[in-house]
């Protein structure tokens, strides 16, 4: 009898475990990001993040960790570290000036179909728990039409510390202060937000994910 119950529990676990995420927004990606499906940008230029916090390093954590998740979404990403040299040479390093207005020169100059802007408004660490709180906005703009193709904004708490008290969790907190964990936190944030981005040309669901539920334009969540 015991085994039977165990079997039933195990079997039901199997069914519920991989259920697709559902959101309360009721939006599909096709509805939330219609411009993305219309323009189908292939080449993305990551703009140096706009940092409105007093943590200078926050800009670099994000700048160095955006290419990877964006490539994983199926896009061709212009190498940020090389692009940086060009942007500096052209006095285009300050991204804020391109948030509105004509950005067609990035298409002519670098072959970018769209620019990805990020604006960081908070980057703070709780000393006790070691968790990092980020408030950030992501916006993708077309270099051809200037239209916004994708935009998400919100707060994400990145909790890397183990639960529970004692020496182990204190040690874990100490590790969180390491450099790798800050980049890891930025990367986790990028993955979290860009998960809602329609897949690009190199991903299996390119132009097939319009019906997928969208998490919507705002977020307030905890990621581990």
């Amino acid at each position: 009898m015991k085994e039977k119950i165990f079997l039933i529990v195990a079997a039901s676990l199997l069914f519920i475990s991989c259920a697709t995420t559902s959101y309360t927004t009721g939006l599909t990606k096709g509805e939330a990001y219609a411009n993305m499906y219309q323009e189908k940008p292939k080449v993305i230029l990551i703009m140096p993040p706009i940092n409105k916090t007093n943590k200078v390093e926050a800009k670099e954590y994000f700048y160095s960790s955006l290419a990877q998740p964006l490539c994983e979404r199926g896009y061709y990403v212009i190498s940020p570290i090389i692009a940086l040299d060009f942007l500096k040479a052209e006095s285009a390093y300050n991204s804020e000036q391109f948030l509105s207005g004509n950005i067609n020169m990035f298409n002519q100059f670098m072959g970018a179909d769209a620019l990805l802007f990020t604006t960081i408004t908070e980057w703070s660490k709780t000393l006790l728990s070691g968790s990092i709180t980020v408030e950030i906005e992501y916006e993708m703009r077309s270099t051809k039409t200037g239209d916004t193709l994708f935009k998400r904004k919100g707060t994400l708490r990145l909790d890397k510390s183990s639960s529970g008290n004692g020496l182990a969790s204190l040690l874990a907190t100490a590790i969180v202060t390491g450099l790798t964990d800050k980049i890891e936190a930025a990367r986790t944030c990028n993955y979290y937000v860009l998960k809602d981005l329609p897949q690009g040309a190199y991903a299996p669901l390119f132009m097939k994910d319009q019906k997928t539920p969208s998490a919507g334009p705002t977020f307030n969540d905890t990621a581990r």
Partner: protein
């Protein structure tokens, strides 16, 4: 007794499948320590950080276990650019040109790099 054992075995198997099924993430590419190494190198250009980054590029070129089975965008071009800056211009240029072959949409950007290196 035997029946119980089989039931237990099946349940254990099911639990194992459950645990493994959602854990495997399908990535398009392998990345090794790319973002850490690239951050560290550009933050502080030391012989050690250069060596780490170089090793990561070589690793990305040689070992791709992602579903696409090809090098991720930017690897050839970054590695080639780095080689050129260190005086290995011919090898670097060849590397950069491979980016165009693999990702033709990078042509405008790659040609821009090549012309800046030829100045």
């Amino acid at each position: 007794m035997k029946k119980h054992k089989i039931g237990f075995l099946i349940s254990t198997l099911l639990v194992l499948i459950t645990l493994s099924s959602c854990a495997t993430q399908t990535n398009l590419y392998s990345w090794a320590n790319y973002s850490d190494d690239v951050y560290t190198y550009y933050k502080k250009q030391t012989p050690a950080s250069l060596e780490n980054l170089t090793k990561t590029y070589q690793n990305l070129l040689e070992h791709q276990r992602g579903t696409r089975g090809v090098t991720p965008p930017g690897t050839y071009v970054e590695y080639g650019y780095l080689l050129c800056l260190q005086g290995q211009k011919q090898e670097g240029m060849e590397m950069i040109n491979k980016e165009k072959e693999l990702y033709p949409e990078s042509t405008t950007f790659v040609d821009r790099i090549l012309s800046s290196l030829n100045k």
